[in-house]
Symmetry: C2
Subunit: 128 residues, 2 copies
DNA sequence: TTTATATTCAACCATTAGGTTGAATAATAC
DNA sequence: GTATTATTCAACCTAATGGTTGAATATAAA
């Protein structure tokens, strides 16, 4: 059932990209990339309520980019870089197709040039 | 004025990540990664109105991921992979910090082990 | 010149997202 | 125990998003 797997991956990518699309959330990730922290610590620098940051964290957690483990009443947050692999993968794949296509076009141009050299015998109009 | 540059980059990242967060838009990009196409061609496979796809394209264009040049009444779309470099860059940077921190922790653990070997002299309780 | 095609613009609608405040829950500290 | 701290839950508000339909614009074809 490749279809289902593809749909699941699509949904995961949706969630990860959306999670990363908000500047506050990227700042949270950057903060966590320097080490684990509690919710309150993470929230401290932001000019918004703790609740707002708490919501952002939930979004990050749902996307799998951030993980949480409780230590007493503290919730300790860390990032899971492996979730970023999926993003990397999608971009690499897309780029590969596109650049492959450019290469193909370049090859085609080379072919046309060769034709040019062999003589523009019965060509009335140049290639457009 | 580093601040301003940073803010601009932030805004660009917002736009790019948000553009990539929608499955229809990613599908459009995948389509274009196989070669340029007109708006109608791009829209054809999607189960939504042409107008809806047109809007998606505008979002992609605003983010810089897709470019457009007009050829008569046709608008020809292509992707600009260099805009994806910014995403790559952000992820690589984040990952680097995080992994650097893990390495540091590993180093610390090694240190502790060395201490262990040299004898647990006046240590009453083990490290937690 | 009329007609058809490619595309956008404009107005609208329903849902989601990011924020607020106030109350609830759960663990620590006194 | 009672108070304090860390965090979430719930309800609410506003703005943005993703979609619709119908009209406008611009180019191409008859």
């Amino acid at each position: 059932m490749i279809e289902k797997a593809a749909t699941a991956r699509t949904a995961r990518l949706d969630a990860i990209f959306a999670a990363l699309a908000d500047p506050t959330r990227r700042a949270i990730i950057e903060r966590l990339s320097r080490g684990e922290a509690r919710v309150t610590e993470v929230a401290e620098p932001f000019p918004m309520s703790l609740n707002a940051v708490s919501k952002h964290i939930r979004v990050l957690e749902a996307s799998g980019v951030v993980e949480r483990h409780r230590k007493g009443r503290d919730h300790i947050l860390s990032i899971n870089t492996s979730s970023l692999d999926e993003v990397d993968g999608w971009i690499a794949r897309t780029r590969r197709y596109w650049e492959g296509r450019l290469d193909a076009m370049e090859g085609l141009l080379r072919e046309l040039k060769k034709d040019d050299k062999r003589g523009p015998k019965d060509r009335k109009h140049g290639p457009r």
